[in-house]
C-alpha cells in the first residue's frame, strides 16, 4: 500500500514546478499552463486526503470537481483575454503588456 506521504510530496513537487512556470515564463499562455499544473497538484492532495481520511465524507472529491469547474472557467476567460490582447497589441509577452503600469 502507498503511504499518504508519497502523494503529498509528489503534489508539493508538482506545485513548485508550476509555480516556477508561472513566475519565470514570458509567454502569457505558458503562464496559464503553469497555473494548470498548480491546480492539478491541489487536486491530487484533495483526492488523496479523501481516500486516506474518512471515506464517508465525500467532500474531497466534491472540492476536486469544483476545482475542475473553476479551472475550465479560468482557462476560457484567460485564453479569451490572451487572444484579445494579441489581436490589439500583437504580442503575448507578459512583460510588454504594461498598459496598466503606474
Amino acid at each position: 500500500m502507498i503511504p499518504l506521504s508519497w502523494y503529498l510530496i509528489l503534489a508539493a513537487a508538482l506545485f513548485s514546478v508550476g509555480l516556477f512556470g508561472v513566475l519565470a515564463r514570458k509567454n502569457a499562455i505558458a503562464i496559464l499552463l503553469g497555473v494548470e499544473l498548480m491546480l492539478n497538484a491541489v487536486n491530487i492532495n484533495l483526492v488523496a486526503f479523501w481516500r486516506y481520511g474518512s471515506l464517508a465524507s465525500i467532500a474531497g472529491q466534491v472540492f476536486a470537481i469544483i476545482v475542475f469547474a473553476v479551472a475550465a472557467a479560468e482557462v476560457a476567460v484567460g485564453l479569451g483575454l490572451v487572444i484579445s490582447v494579441y489581436r490589439r497589441r500583437n504580442t503575448v509577452v507578459a512583460d510588454e503588456l504594461d498598459l496598466m503600469k503606474w
Binding site: 479523501w50 472557467a73 485564453l79 483575454l81
Partner: protein, 169 residues
C-alpha cells in the same frame, strides 16, 4: 514493493518529468502536449486512489477540453515568438529559488506532521464512490449550493470569454 507502488512511481516520474518539460521547453505546442502527459499521469493517480468518476472527468474535461483549448490558443497567437528567442524572463533564477523554497517548506511541514504516514483503509464492500459523489452533489444537506454556484460561474465565464475575445462591430 508491490505492483501498485511501481505503478505509482512510474506515473509520478511521468508527471514530474512532463511538468518540468511544460515549464522549460521552447516550443509552446510541445509544452501543451507535455501538459497532456502530466494530466494523464494525474488521471492514473486518481484511478489508484479509487476516484473513478474523477479519472473519467480528468480525461474528458482536462485533456479533451482544456488542453485542446490551449493548443488552439497557442496556434492562434503563434506568429510572435515562434521557437527562437528567450522563453524565460530575466528573473528566472529568483523564480527557481522561490519554487525550491516552496517545495522545501512544504517538505519540512509534512515531515513535522504526524498523520503523514497514514495508510488507506480498504474500501468497504458495496461502497460505490460514484453513487456517493452524485448523491452528495445534489442533496440539500450536502453540496447542492456550491454545485449550482459552479454552474453559474461556468455560465458567467462562457459569456465573459465570448465578450472578451469577440470582435466589436
Amino acid at each position: 514493493m508491490t505492483a501498485i507502488q511501481i505503478i505509482f512511481i512510474l506515473s509520478a516520474l511521468v508527471i514530474l518529468g512532463a511538468a518540468v518539460m511544460v515549464v522549460s521547453t521552447r516550443n509552446l505546442v510541445h509544452a501543451a502536449l507535455y501538459l497532456v502527459a502530466t494530466l494523464f499521469g494525474v488521471a492514473v493517480l486518481y484511478a489508484i486512489l479509487d476516484a473513478t468518476f474523477l479519472t473519467v472527468v480528468q480525461v474528458v474535461v482536462y485533456i479533451g477540453a482544456i488542453a485542446i483549448l490551449f493548443i488552439f490558443a497557442i496556434m492562434l497567437t503563434r506568429r510572435e515568438m515562434r521557437d527562437q528567442g528567450e522563453q524565460l524572463n530575466k528573473g528566472w533564477g529568483a523564480a527557481a529559488l522561490i519554487g525550491l523554497l516552496t517545495f522545501g517548506g512544504l517538505f519540512m511541514l509534512l515531515n513535522n506532521w504526524r498523520g503523514v504516514n497514514a495508510t488507506a483503509a480498504a474500501l468497504p464492500s458495496g461502497f460505490d464512490g460514484v453513487v456517493e459523489l452524485g448523491t452528495a452533489l445534489v442533496s440539500t444537506d450536502a453540496f447542492v449550493l456550491p454545485f449550482e454556484v459552479a454552474s453559474v460561474l461556468l455560465l458567467a465565464a462562457l459569456i465573459g470569454a465570448v465578450y472578451v475575445a469577440g470582435t466589436k462591430k
